[in-house]
Assembly symmetry: C2
Homo-oligomer: 211 residues x 2
DNA sequence: TAGATTGTTAATCGATTAACAATC
DNA sequence: TAGATTGTTAATCGATTAACAATC
């Protein structure tokens, strides 16, 4: 009986993909039942946290038994939205954009790539799809109604691109630039990936290892 | 007078790169003085948090005045370790590895890329550097003593690669694979980038926007 | 039934925010 | 000096962990 509490904390949400991954592996290995204790040992969490996390969404377990792996895997998948096929475009076909376009398994994550854009390289094929001209972005959005945009352009170009997209009704973003989308468009949903910040955090840890 | 408290929380550390970025921008715009209040407004934080964060490392401000932008920028840079040049290798020259190799500004982040590895494509140049054979990884490490490895191979290959690297004394990782390095090598320093987890978190937010 | 394990409430821990004396 | 703003302590808030009654 799935709940829908609407104020699930980000801490919990950020753990869901990892649960999903571990359950997928268990399933693949033919394990069809697991207790919070056993899962906690495998994942390096507390059993308490796992039970708390899962109970944000519903009582998926059974006292005295634990959790059914396939069922829980499916439930978490649904919660995450992997059964969606959000029409999605990628803006910026530099090295990063190309890598994202070719490297990610969008379909199994719930996304459907319907267009790749760049202001250069128009017509060049990436992963079998011809790059479209960023100049025609607005027009494309009117016709094809993408729901999600992946921003792989540098910060300088991002402001203009995002402005165009929001005007066309695209308000969901996977943002690799340092442009702060939510600060400028509070209604937007945005997940940031700041690779250079992550690298600097690593540097901090290396530099201060022996403090 | 920089402190060195050695138990700075990860919450604080993860905010440092963003402070560094904002201060760099202020500096570029010719602003040479800022109060925690003004900075908090620009960054969308509380002034209190900024003062708490900075005071983990030392009293960089001056009552009645605020903070000197250039000085604070420099201090945070030093804390983050941007003046280092950690000899670094990248393993895996698929789309992602290539993008990382060409896209990131390693030098200004405190890293120096001294080798690119792949089990195929040996000799092909990426960013002016010829790809080396992963089979010769151990040998290369003995000779060149890299300190950091960037793991851009799939999870299946990661276990073997990381084992080799740890044996050769490489214990600092920027890890793009789902292989859990710290679980297997507790002495390792590792910063994970799980792109597919990030994408799934975005999907959750889109899917539950109107809950 | 007895043992196991959940769902959930209460206790603890840590991080953020507020307040204010110190001081430039 | 008076006004501004820090550094730091105290209060609050939220997240994690522990405990245990409910129940399969």
């Amino acid at each position: 009986m799935p709940k829908n509490d609407n104020n699930i904390s980000m801490s919990v949400i950020k753990r869901l993909p990892r649960y999903y991954r571990f359950l997928g592996n268990l399933k693949k290995n033919g394990i069809d039942r697991i207790s919070s204790k056993e899962l906690s040992a495998r994942m390096g969490l507390t059993a308490s946290q796992i039970r708390q996390d899962l109970n944000c969404f519903g009582g998926f377990g059974q006292q005295g038994y634990g959790y059914n792996v396939s069922q829980l895997y499916k439930e978490i998948g649904t919660i995450l939205g992997v059964n969606n096929a959000h029409p999605t475009i990628i803006i910026g076909m530099g090295n990063l954009g190309k890598a994202i376009a070719t490297h990610m398994q969008f379909a199994s994550g719930g996304f459907d790539i319907i267009g790749l854009f760049d202001c250069q390289k128009v017509g060049v094929k990436v992963n079998g799809k011809a790059i479209l001209n960023s100049a025609n972005l607005a027009e494309f959005c009117e016709e094809n109604k993408p729901q999600v945009a992946i921003i792989c352009v540098p910060e300088e170009s991002a402001a203009g691109i995002v402005s165009t997209l929001v005007k066309c009704g695209v308000t969901n973003f996977w943002n690799f630039s340092h442009y702060d989308i939510v600060a400028n468009y509070p209604e937007a949903v945005c997940e940031n990936v700041h690779l250079s910040d992550s690298l600097m955090t690593l540097n901090y840890q290396i530099t201060h290892k022996d403090d």
